[in-house]
């Protein structure tokens, strides 16, 4: 019986040992589970804080962008409505910066505070620069202002990009921490593999839970990445629109040519909501020729600006394919009709430096004016329907044989329609052009503008482009220039006919409908 009793003691002792082991195992499994759980929760917390920081960082970026597009839209269109996002963003940027500072302090990102401070300072500096514009003053020197503003804004974006990278790094570190914790727990249990039987269930559950939490955090971070990508794409798109708009208004530099002289002037309307789509372009062509374009898109504001860009692109690319001005207009007309773009009027042509010829075609645009030495300025023939409205534009290429020292003046309707009386406007413009000393004026376009608008404000945009043949510099050239002059004088039939097309004439057409 003793044996029996001792035999009963053995199993009961080992049972206790087993029970104790189990208790220890369960306890360690539980604490391991709890430990892992804490790490997961901590990772989730870090992840949530990063999310909040990112959202604030994007808030700052969006705020800066709203401020920029607001100012750009206002400068481009003169419409104060564009300033709404600008004013709305003003209080948002500092609020986002403050939240961002709190979050990066929680996250312990060492380079964070300096980056936020730098971005905030650049935002304030940019605002100080832009404030004058928002108050309705046009910048004295748009180019310098823009260049400085661009440097600041680029600095701001660079700071935000660096911060974004720092946030990414912080997340990767937190993620790696959790992995290390899981491995450590795994190793501890690896040594006690035989005793794990009961514990595994609990541990397994705990690990499952950890895995699920990890999965959730992964999904969250994946969503975060997608969100960041979405914001970035939206941001890039907006920036692209704003930049395109701005580029559209930045006039390209005029070409320099040994025997052709250019001058140009663009003055936006004084009145708000009136800035339209006037533009000019000049481009060197092969064979000593230079292409010139002046154009005007119907309407005002962003729509006109966008239309202008489209028309400008279409004209330039057509000019690379076609050489004949009427063909260029026909191609552009078809292109604009396809895109149902707003109506555009314009003159496109080229000056031939070897033959002293102006070759052009007009599409519903006011007539170019030709200044020749010793003659009254005269309006050239027009015709042709505006672009982008009717399929057959009836464009015609016209050639004008001119002389050295001649200047062709191209302008938009703002130069003749300022008084709403076109006849009066043409008279004023011709008189103004006649008063310019073309031999001395280095910038005829500016001189013409001054002469027309002396003391008055323009109700509409005005663009003026002049293309002139140099008076030949050397003696030998002078002789040929004089000869060209003499030939021209002999050819021109009536000196009185010089301004004949300036006189209003009503063309009556009786066309029987068939």
């Amino acid at each position: 019986m003793k044996v029996g009793s001792s035999a009963r003691d053995g199993p009961s002792g080992s049972l206790i040992v087993t029970a104790l082991t189990l208790v220890v195992l369960i306890a360690s499994a539980l604490s391991a589970g709890l430990y892992l759980r804490t790490r997961v929760v901590s990772l989730l917390h870090v992840s949530e804080t990063i999310r909040s920081a990112r959202s604030s960082a994007f808030g700052m970026l969006r705020g800066q962008l709203d401020e920029e597009t607001g100012i750009r839209g206002f400068v481009a269109s003169g419409n104060r409505e564009y300033l709404e996002p600008y004013y709305a963003a003003l209080p948002m940027v500092p609020a986002d910066a403050s939240n961002l500072r709190k979050r990066i302090a929680e996250l312990g990102i060492p380079e964070g505070p300096a980056l936020v401070d730098r971005a905030s300072a650049l935002n304030r500096a940019w605002l100080a620069l832009a404030a004058g514009t928002a108050e309705g003053k046009r910048p004295a020197d748009g180019g310098v202002l823009q260049a400085r503003a661009k440097t600041m804004v680029d600095g701001f974006r660079a700071a935000m990009a660096n911060l974004d990278t720092a946030l990414d790094r912080r997340y990767v570190a937190a993620d790696a921490d959790l992995y290390a914790a899981i491995e450590r727990t795994g190793l501890l249990f690896g040594g006690l593999i035989l005793l794990v039987a009961a514990g595994t269930i609990l541990f397994g559950t705990s690990q499952n839970r950890a895995a699920r939490a990890l999965e959730a955090s992964r999904a969250l971070s994946e969503e975060q990445r997608r969100e960041a990508m979405r914001l970035r794409i939206a941001y890039e798109t907006e920036k692209h629109i704003a930049d395109t708009l701005q580029d559209g208004f930045a006039q390209r530099p005029l070409p320099t040519h040994p025997s052709l002289r250019f001058s140009a002037m663009y003055v936006p309307a004084e009145e708000e909501n009136k800035v339209g789509g006037d533009w000019y372009d000049a481009l060197e062509l092969p064979g000593d020729r230079v292409l010139f374009v002046i154009g005007d898109v119907a309407g005002h504001g962003i729509e006109a600006a966008v239309g202008m860009n489209r028309a400008r692109q279409a004209l330039m690319s057509s000019a690379l394919v076609d050489t004949d001005p009427a063909d260029i207009l026909t191609r552009v007309n078809a292109e604009l009709l396809r895109n149902s773009a707003p109506m555009v009027t314009g003159v496109v042509g080229y000056a031939d430096a070897q033959t002293y010829e102006f070759v052009y075609a007009s599409a519903g645009h006011p007539p170019p004016i030709l200044i020749e030495p010793g003659r009254a300025p005269r309006m050239l023939e027009i015709g042709g329907v505006p672009l982008g409205v009717v399929p057959s534009g009836a464009f015609r290429t016209r050639r004008v044989q001119s002389v050295p020292g001649a200047i062709l003046v191209l302008y938009t309707d703002g130069a003749v329609e300022h008084s709403r009386d076109v006849i009066e406007g043409e008279r004023t413009l011709l008189a103004a052009i006649g008063s310019i000393d073309t031999d001395r004026a280095t910038e005829p376009a500016a001189a013409i503008h001054r002469a027309v608008f002396a003391g008055r404000t323009a109700g509409d945009d005005v663009a003026i482009l002049t293309v002139g043949f140099s008076v030949a510099p050397s003696t030998g050239m002078r002789v040929s220039a004089d000869r060209a002059n003499a030939e021209f004088a002999a050819r021109s039939a009536s000196p009185q006919g010089a301004i004949e097309s300036a006189q209003p004439s009503l063309r009556i057409i009786r066309r029987k409908a068939s």
Partner: protein, 106 residues
Amino acid sequence: MSDLRVIALHGELDIARRDEARFALRADGDVGAVLLDFADVTYADSTILSTLLVFTREMGIRGVPVAILVGTPQLARIVQYAGLSDILPVFNERSDALTHLSEGRR
């Protein structure tokens, strides 16, 4: 029986009156011919000309004859700028315009 529609606009026409012009120059209903009576119009900006050209195009597609009556040298010059006389019959006498349209309708 389709009728002659006379659309008359007056004074200075600019972007501020675009909606008015669009309403007046809408291509609807059964119309035999259209006389655009701009006899006392002194100014039309490019947005109005655009509206006018679109209207003309629509009417051309429907085969409805359109004539334009211009009474001021200012508008005559603007019409010339826009090359309208290349695609539209332009008159400075109402009777001439009406004669043209009545012939065109038959």
